[in-house]
Symmetry: D2
């Protein structure tokens, strides 16, 4: 913990119960990166809580199974978590819903699903966490972007439009909430993340994939930037990746 972490007055249930460990919430924690993020923060003293549709076999820390697009469940679950652990210090939005298809094979349902999965879920998570972080004296809200956040490629109409939307939302959150003490970051993951699923799907040499634990380290660093040097946007890509 560096000096920039506020020593919040103890008013939450979690705090009153003596749970002094800061909370990290990762929305979209079923997959490789989500679990690596939780592990990285846990290793340095955070209470890790993952949210997602599919419970990992052995989740790091607490895991809440829920549909992150569910507008009733998300506020309910997060508000219970806040009651239990106090407001989060760090929130990561890390959901993804990849669709790659020609325009004619991309249905309205695909657009809705990618949008809900990435944008609606981010809105719901932000609604439930950002103001509590402001009230507690600050925190960090990190959003995972992708190559398609900056470039709408052919066959990526659904995915890119949702990732563009998420970037616009994240900028807006940064401009509204950074003056109130919540650091909002957009990390552009420009490469394939090395997970079991990626190795099945892609013929790419795993040595050229992004390691989840390396991304986790970068997010950890973002979450601990002092107030004089906040990064809003950065790219992360393997040395071998063309761009």
């Amino acid at each position: 913990m560096d000096e920039n972490w506020p020593s919040a007055t103890c008013e939450t249930a979690g705090c009153l119960m003596g749970t002094h460990k800061p909370l990290v919430l990762v929305a979209g924690a079923g997959a490789g990166l989500g679990q690596s993020l939780l592990a990285r923060f846990e290793q340095s003293g955070f209470t890790p809580v993952g949210l997602g549709r599919s419970r990992p076999v052995k989740p790091v820390g607490d895991f809440q199974t829920l549909d992150l697009t569910d507008e009733a469940a998300v506020p309910a679950v997060i508000s219970e978590l806040i009651a239990k652990y106090g407001p989060p210090k760090v929130v990561v939005h890390n959901t993804a819903e990849l669709v790659i298809a020609p325009f004619a094979q991309t249905s309205l349902a695909d657009y809705r699903r990618t949008w809900a999965s990435m944008v609606q879920s981010a809105v719901l998570v932000a609604e439930a966490t950002v103001q509590p972080m402001v009230d507690a004296g600050g925190g960090t809200f990190i959003v995972s972007g992708a190559t398609a956040s900056l470039r709408g490629g052919a066959k990526f109409s659904a995915f890119a439009s949702a990732k563009f939307a998420l970037r616009g939302l994240t900028q807006s959150l940064a401009r509204e909430f950074q003056p109130a003490g919540v650091h909002v970051c957009h990390a552009i993951l420009d490469g394939i993340i090395d997970t079991a699923r990626s190795r099945d799907l892609h013929s790419l040499d795993p040595a050229k994939m992004m390691k989840p634990e390396d991304i986790a380290e970068a997010y950890w660093q973002l979450a601990h930037q002092p107030k004089s040097t906040w990064t809003h946007e950065l790219d992360l890509r393997p040395a071998s990746e063309g761009f």
Copy 2:
């Protein structure tokens, strides 16, 4: 008409009936800009057809009243129009749904409405028109962007995220369909359009507003760029506008 306009073989109903005038479809034609666009194209020999929720008192050309987010109505209406007039030469997507509010006062319904109004409607209109334009030998699909297409400002979380999404979608359409002959453009309107509504809402001197007929002229030019010099993105702003 310049030499770049294909002289399509006559197979559509509209063509067989001798309706040789090319069709311009403006989705979002209730407001000032939409009507000015139709007038500009009509003036040079196009058949103007407007689509929108609110029928103007004296619409330019044909006007179809419909909800552009309606996934049954949009394909049905456009397919009838194509049966009648032949496939469009020019399609303009020009819907907007402005929400300006702090994040805490922006509801999920606001995000959904702005997204549906701008992105879902663009998907539906593109689904109904782009392939017919490809089949007819080409055409132009123009999307109206805004300042918020490039910058997510505070209080613009819903509007900016939808405009970002629309920009990503438009890029994706350009990369898929330009090689097939459909020119896809994203015009960033960086200023306030001079309409009766703008004059009510804003205290800005109308001399500093964008004139709908000037925007219409720019769209006309985009729709007539020869194939060797297609613009995908341009900004349009008043000389007096800071940027």
Copy 3:
């Protein structure tokens, strides 16, 4: 001429001599595009004057042979031209100096030459023309950019750094002089221009090259945008060009 062209008071020599045709100055007019620009403007009543190192065999209009990086010659020649023809209505900066080489084979002389050719020449031409245009009531200053204006590719270190610099300069000129009535544009030419030299250098099918007369038409349109809809930046590329 549209209504946006000021009817300047007659005070210059050119005006007093009855030369009422507006002046277009193209800096970098030896090559194909430069001459096509002059031809396009001449066709609609402008007095065309080209500037450049190499006099074309049959130049369109007046041609002044000079080194556009020469800080004595540029102001002297342009000031004579202004004395003769009045201040320009339209100025195009269209010089280029392409270097493609690995970093290790790019010398400091290459960086200096590309910079001087593109940036120093633009500064000199702007110094000699922009304020006279302001004083005469307005005008248009168009700068030719390239793919490398937005992306520094491998082997393009000299060319891209100069084209980036030119873009920064052009933005700065736009922000300072647009409020004073001079429209400043940056046109990103994203493709190979079809010239005799391109056909020698590239194996690309000329049908996939940008036609100089099409670019000229686009610049003509930029130079005649009404004050309510000025474009600062646009891209121009062949329909067949990937991006």
Copy 4:
């Protein structure tokens, strides 16, 4: 040192002499940030060497006084340093030459000076260091950008054009040398750095300035990113800074 640092074979003079500490070179180390960078790297075991025109009163580590635009001195001095210390692991280019003036008050000498100070110096430093880093198995080359790297504001024509150029150069270096193992970063410092000089020049509350030691920490992190997650570009700004 993390596992990504190559354990280079010992062939250089510095290495043969038993100087195993990696070298960090900061070009532009007279001012506050340069010295803070050297201190940060020294603190974790690097040999710090600063280069610049003005020797600080008490420089951190070795300091070589030279004009970084001097095309004879830069390679000579750096080659001596490499003979002494081995090739650098980390190089930071951190020169700046601010000019703020209306276009009419910005002379060609201003453009040349800002360009030479920022671009020519970067070329010279990269020429002397990047290939040696490649040969030694890798390293990091970080360039300090500014707000004006992305936006050419009025009165910033000289500064912005040079910062744009530097960004283009840096991208080009990244695309050429990252596959060869040298990580190339462009850090956009979007705020005023808290130095004695800034406090004299600006009325801004120092609490709203970027702390040199915080920037140094960010650069340290960039220099230690693992190969699977290299950042090419990031912004750094105070929480209080609008953007």
